[in-house]
Structures are given as C-alpha cells and as structure tokens.
Amino acid sequence: MEVIVQVIASGLTLGAMYAVAAVGLALVYGALGMLNIAHGAILTFGGYAAFYVITSLGLPMVAGVAAAVAAGALLGLAIYVVLVHGMLSAPAFETNIFIATFGIGMALENVVLKLFGAYPAAQPLALDGAVAVFDVFIPVRNIAILVAGVLLMVATAWLLTRTQTGNAIRATAQNRAAAELMGVRVRWIYAQVLAISGALAGVSGIMVSSLTNLSPTMGGDPMLKAFIVCVVAGLGNVYGAMIAAIALGLVEATAQYLLGVRFGLATLLVLVILTLIWRPHGLFGRTQVQRL
C-alpha cells in the first residue's frame, strides 16, 4: 500500500511536470507545424530567471515566477521574430526550423553557462516540509508542482476554448488559409502562440529545478520527455498531450520502482516505439489524408 501511494505520488508529480512542458510544444506544433528544439533552453532560462530575481536581487517569490514567465515569453517572441517570420513561407519549413531551433537552443544553453557558470545551484523558489498520506510522507513541493500543473492545464484549456485569442489559435491550427480569409491575423497568432509556449516553458523550468537543481543542461531531459509525450499523444494534440503526460509519468515511476531508475526512460521508449508501430500518428492523432 505504501509503495503504491509512493509510486502514484511521484508518477503524478512527474506527469504534471511533463504536461506543462509538453503542452507548450504541442501548441506550437499544432498551430505552426514547427518542432521547437529550443524549448528546453527556454525552460532553463525560466529557471535561472527566477533564481536571479530571488537570490541576486532579493525580490519576493512572486517576482521570481513573473520573471520566469516574462523570460520564457520574450524568448518565444524572439524566436518568432528572428527565425519563424522569415522562414514560414520558405520551402521545407518543417525540417529547416527544426535545425535552426536546434542551433538556437545550443547557443542559448551556452549563454546560460557563461552567465551563471557550470556549477549546479539550488532553486530558491521551492517549498519545504512534507505531508503524510496513508503513512507515506510526500514533500510539499511535489504537491505544489501537481497543483501548479493542474492550474496551468485548466488555464490553457480556458484560454483555448473560452477566449477570442483561443478561437483564433484553434482556427489557425485547423486551416491557416481559411482563418486568414476570416480576418485572423495569422502571423500575430503565431507570435502569440510562441510567447504562450515560452511562458509555459519558463514556469516548467521552475518546477523542474525545484525538484533537482539548476544547471545549464537541465532543459535536455524534460524536453526529451515532453517530446515523447507529444509523439505518443500525436503531435499538435494539446489535450492528448495532457493525458499522455500524466500516463507517462505514472509509467515511468512504476518502471523506476520495478526495474531501477536506470531503465525508467528505456522502458518508456520501448513502450513508445510499440505504440508508434501500432498507431503511427500517436494515440490521439488522426491519419491525415493527403492529396497527391
């Protein structure tokens, strides 16, 4: 019983963390058909922005969260202005933007390394203490991550379904040309989507670093997991990504308990490959019929 509670608790924490990172990726892929490899670097920047504001400037924790959101959103916007705007109409956009954001991501990681050094630092924005559930002590920061994750998911769903911007984003994702004809300023939507995705990445940077540590390469692992989540869900499927993130968090926690931490990711990957052989467009993805 205790083991089950422990595995579920850590699985849900992992899942909530992956969900926040994965939804940002899914939003961008859904709207632009673009894989943002710099997502992990934006996540790292968010974590460090909170660290800098709280530790070096001595501002309260709320300012740390705001700084992470602002840093992420600004980087997302910058990627739109510098890369996406110029490349959108060029041929082979999907491949080229992948390569370009890979380069930008590595460059950003190098900037963090130069600014803050290679040594891991502790994230000041973390809660201490633990709560007992069925005689199992669960750290408060895990619960905070879960709550924050759920709140962000609800907020994203609200934004997408209940606001004008959300309608425009969904319309653009469904059919770019039709949305443009209806008067949606598609390029402005793209910029907004990248900013929202960046802001989500910034927050998930705080979540990830509050469980482990801040380091210039910390974005790599959560980004890889977020990619796996998106692939399993079907690229671009935001709600699928939410469900798949929680499911994969639980699977990873179970595999880590049963097979050891080393093989958590390996087990996950085997499952992903099997899923993809069974459904090449992901669990919730639809087969696209293409005109020749």
Binding site: L35, E94, T95, M106, L276
Partner: protein
Amino acid sequence: MTAPGKDLVIGVVLVAIAATVPFLFPVRYVITQMTLLFIYAIVVTQWNLVLGVAGIFSLAQMALFACGAYATAMLGLYLDWSLWAAMPAGAMIAVVVGLLIGLACLRLKGPYVALLTLAIAQVAYLVIITDTDCFIRTETRCEPFTGGASGLRRFGDLGLREWLGRDWIIGNYFVGLGLLVAAMAFSVAVARGPLGLAFRALRDNLGYARSRGISQFKYQLVVFALSAFFTGLAGAFYAAHFKSVGPTIFSFSLLLLLLAMIVVGGLGTIWGPIVGATLVMFADEGLREVQDFRTLGLGLTLALFVLLLPDGLTGTASRLLARWRGSGS
C-alpha cells in the same frame, strides 16, 4: 564533361591535396586534427544520404557511430580480437542496429522520425553512463561492461607503431584518408545511381513514387543499412585511432558540429558535406582562442545558414553558376 567524370576529377584533386598535408606540415597536432576531420567527413557523407538524399530526418547517426566504436572496443577488450578484424565486425553490428532503427521508423514521418531517433540515442547514452556494475575486476578497480561514464581503454590499436615507429600517426592518417575515399566513392555511387533516384523519388513525392512501384519498405531499410556501414566503420576507426571510447560521442555539441557541417556545405548535395566538414573544422580551429563561445558560434551559424542560405554553400554556388552560364549563352 559528364557528371561522373567531374566527380572523379574533384575526388582525385582533393585526395592529392590531402596526401601531401602530413609531409608539408609534419606537426602531430595538424595530423591528428586532419584524421579527426576524415572521421567526421565519413559520418557526414553517410548521414547526408539519409538526411539529404532520402529526406529521412534521422538523428541516430551518432548512435550508429557509437555502435561501431563500442563494438570494436569490446571485441578487442573482451575477446582479444585484432582491431583489423574488429573494425569490420563493428561496422556490421552498426548495420544491424541501423536496420532495426529503420524498421522502428518505417511507418513514421518527418518530425516523428527525428524525435524517435533522438530518443533512441539518448537512451543508449543514459544506459551507458549509468552503468556501474562490475564486469571485470582488476587489482585497483572494477570496470563495467560498457565502460560507464569514463569509457573503455586499453583494447589495442592498429599495430602500426611496430611497423612505422614514430610515424605510426601518419600511417593512421592514411588509413583514415583511405576510409574516407571509400565512403565518398560509395556515397557518390549511391546518390548518382538508381538507388539515389529511388531515394529522391520517395523523398519528393511519396505517393507518386509508391504508385510507380518503388517500395518504401525496401528502400528505407536499404538507406539506413547502407549509411550505417561506413558510419560504423568510422566509429570503429575512431576507437582504434584514439585508443579509447567514451560516452562523449553521444553529446549534443558533437551532433551540432556534424549537423552544421552538412547544412553549411549543402544538404542533399554530393560534395557539400565534405566542403562543410572542412570549413567548419577549420573555423572551429580558428576559434580555439575563444573556445568558451564555441557552441554559441556554432549554434548561431547553423541558424543563420538555414535562414539565409538553406541550400548551403555548394548548393548556392551551383545555382549562381547555372544562372551565370544561362545569362552568358
């Protein structure tokens, strides 16, 4: 001149230049870096077949390279094989792994392939660096099966030291050059031949190519297997030349370096990867003074090239040449 004739002339000139380098600059550092350039050039010419000619966005090339390198090291270390026998065996193991990866990616498209192959490489890396179980115990310490985070060492070398003495490094240089020539000839033959035509047809219009009877199943597996052979051999030679293998060959910065070589030279072109490998390698050497900003520079270069010159240097050059000829006649 016909295209094969032109390729032959370019190839002979490049080999002639490369063959004189160790005698014009008999410096150990230059020879070592040039040998490393040959190894990277082999990898990018083969990667270009998958990425550029066949248009399959696989990021598993360094994992295949690592397969060749680790297999060679392990055969030498645990079974006492001569590295001359272990190298082709390592390459064949890379081919088998390449086939398996190709099989896993068979039904996937574009970004799905990229993510899956990236994840496969990362899992291999994580399994190796977290390996701490004792496999062989020496007097001072215990070595895990894969060498763990510190890698494998002392599995022998190519044995050129007994034969050439202090010039063994020049011997290795020519082995590397020989492998590069073979890999390049192979990739030119594939890209210009009927196989290359089939790969390009599947890349440019999958539905049309398939309706004309080109089997995606067959050719996708073929391109993965073909490009895995010389990539694995390059990895095997890397292990034999440096006499050590470590998990650093999985690093993102190395992947970035190789991808930059292809993109700077020209994705999908015949000579682009070689041109790109040489230029990026020399630029990298030139920037050794400001090494802290190496990744920053490489990353920005990659993004700038994709943004401004998506055909790379050779692609842009041949387009300009064609326009100039067109206006001249």
